[in-house]
Symmetry: C2
Subunit: 339 residues, 2 copies
């Protein structure tokens, strides 16, 4: 690896989005005088009677949660996307808008209010994976749904309004910005090379080793060459699967294992329940072949130096390009050392 | 205006970036149980001996700030971009990187530690505008600089590490992601229509009125049709100027007035010193004509409902598309009512 990448400001190219990230390895030394995040030291009960996600409790709309034992899915009571709104579009000169319909769901990962994925056993996480697969299939069968975005916001600093372990699925009629970018980049590569862009990249990473954090027979977890967030991680299958439903039972367990290893390493890094947003990018459910897609799950955690100091993606990042201080190689090494 | 835009989930197109924003007008009602931001009630002194931006104080690198009376510029002691780093590039299969050089500066808007732009008089803000113009010209003359990004991070919640009123300029050798998008969109429109994309848009907004917050003879301030942040505002000149150096003295004062009016309305909205990141997008200094560029300043403020409840751009927004709850029209009306 070119040692300049550890010493001097440079930019790296994200092959999946076609965009750049600015890297400033020399800058990790600047003193921090800004905002510190609160660390939640609270020990949570296994059941909280005021939590609208705990089993048997009543939600704001009057519905009572079942006495669920592992994973529980329901339609979001305050969904950002509506299912049955009218079809319309605005095309008045430079004002352009289109109606967008969709279905938003909430997935409770466990009835245990006190846990997070990092605290759950691999077989418990495997049940979450199974529900993601089932929901993807269900939504894929829905004519009105062309994209399924599975994600999790973890931690108050990531806008998570309830600490009960849960994720979300927002499915919708058109393709979100990020999916459009990744669709284009993967399609272009696939039609040129007849191989998966991400598959070829993973092979190169497994060879280079320095950004790989963990691997098992079926999955690789690494800090991508073009990572934006300080301790960003991508988990991807070695085989060119376009979506999570293609995984065999054994492969699903291997996927759950990778999630377990990474979330545990995260919690160990700064000795706190590590906040992040994670999401699975996979083939849109738009009825096309989509063989150029290679699914992957990414974790975007905001913490930079400690449980209380995060990286702010603000001014320059909003108006210019995302910027990072520590390099992907340094981040991967620190996480790898915790496994 | 199509009333569906106030009632149903839809997406709107950003003509400047070519990307979409998801709007969920029905969703503003959801209860908030998440993180509350701290409101700084602290009254700051006009001079703080521990502040590295106050006049006469010594910075971390040993330099002593001059006894400045209005605006003071210096090169960032912890610059993300280095001026004299070696030229290199990495092109190993799917690993692509390039060296990036640049100059990062800090601009103190006032020697008065207790103020923000909202507290400053129009003639004081005009001096800040004059320094932005001078710095843009200086950097434009620098062969190695092809883009000049002027911005401000205001408030701890926006990663601002020092409350002393100040902004930054990051200038660099290549064009940041956001500039590339806006360059493409404006160029395409200009070559097709021979008019400014943003100029034509502003004319349409001045006709529609509902998103306009303020105007004077030379500038318009509005919430763009495609605004992402709850109370996002754009300030733009009515004439098709590609950069801030084209403003006459009178126009520069009109610009300062617009900044003053908007920042004061912001502070009034939730009765707090309103946090935001602002930035000026203007023609890159890459030696090209760039007549398709129409400069504009944008404010991206995170607060949504009160001084303590912000909008989180997390899971879905990071993996899919930015999402907003209140509409641009509602936001513009609330700000307009405060002027
Ligand atoms: O240099 P500052 O103001 O301390 O740093 C702030 O602004 C920079 C530019 O937007 C960001 O990269 C940092 O994350 C943020 O904390
Ligand atoms: O629905 P939640 O989890 O309360 O809301 C959270 O996630 C959403 C999807 O990423 C965001 O739009 C919200 O800003 C955030 O607070």
């Amino acid at each position: 690896m070119n040692t300049n990448l550890q010493d001097y400001s440079h930019k790296r190219f994200n092959i999946l989005t076609g965009e750049w990230v600015l890297v400033s390895p020399h800058r990790a030394k600047r003193p921090w005088q800004g905002q510190n995040e609160a660390v939640s030291k609270e020990v949570r009960p296994t059941h909280d009677s005021s939590c609208y996600l705990c089993a048997r409790n009543t939600r704001i709309n009057g519905e009572v949660n079942p006495d669920y034992k592992d994973v529980f899915v329901f339609t979001n009571d305050f969904a950002a996307l509506q299912k049955d709104s009218p079809n319309f579009n605005v095309n008045e000169g430079l004002f352009k808008a289109e109606s967008e319909t969709g279905i938003c769901k909430v997935i409770c990962f466990s009835p245990d209010h006190s846990k997070s994925l990092a605290d759950m056993a691999v077989n418990e996480i495997t049940k979450v994976v199974a529900v993601w697969q089932k929901e993807y299939t269900l939504l894929d069968d829905n004519e009105a749904v062309n994209n399924v975005q599975i994600f999790e916001n973890k931690g108050a600093v990531m806008g998570c309004s309830n600490p009960h372990p849960h994720g979300q699925i927002w499915s919708q009629s058109t393709l979100p910005n990020e999916i459009v970018k990744k669709d284009n980049q993967q399609k272009e590569y696939f039609s040129k090379n007849k191989t998966s862009l991400l598959g070829d990249y993973l092979a190169q990473e497994l060879e280079a080793k320095e950004r790989v954090i963990f691997e098992n027979d079926h999955f690789v977890a690494l800090t991508p060459f073009w990572a934006v967030w300080p301790f960003e991680v991508m988990i991807a299958p070695k085989k060119n699967y376009k979506d999570i439903t293609q995984l065999s039972d054994i492969e699903s367990v291997a996927y759950a294992e990778a999630i377990s290893v990474i979330t545990k390493a995260y919690d160990a890094l700064f000795e706190c329940s590590f906040p992040y947003s994670s999401g699975i990018h996979q083939a849109p459910t738009n009825g096309k072949e989509n063989n150029h897609w290679h699914f992957h799950m990414s974790f975007y955690p905001p913490l930079l130096r400690s449980a209380t100091v995060k990286k702010f993606m603000v001014g320059y990042e909003m108006f210019g390009t995302p910027q990072r201080d520590i390099t992907a190689e340094q981040a991967a090494k620190r996480l790898r050392d915790l496994i």
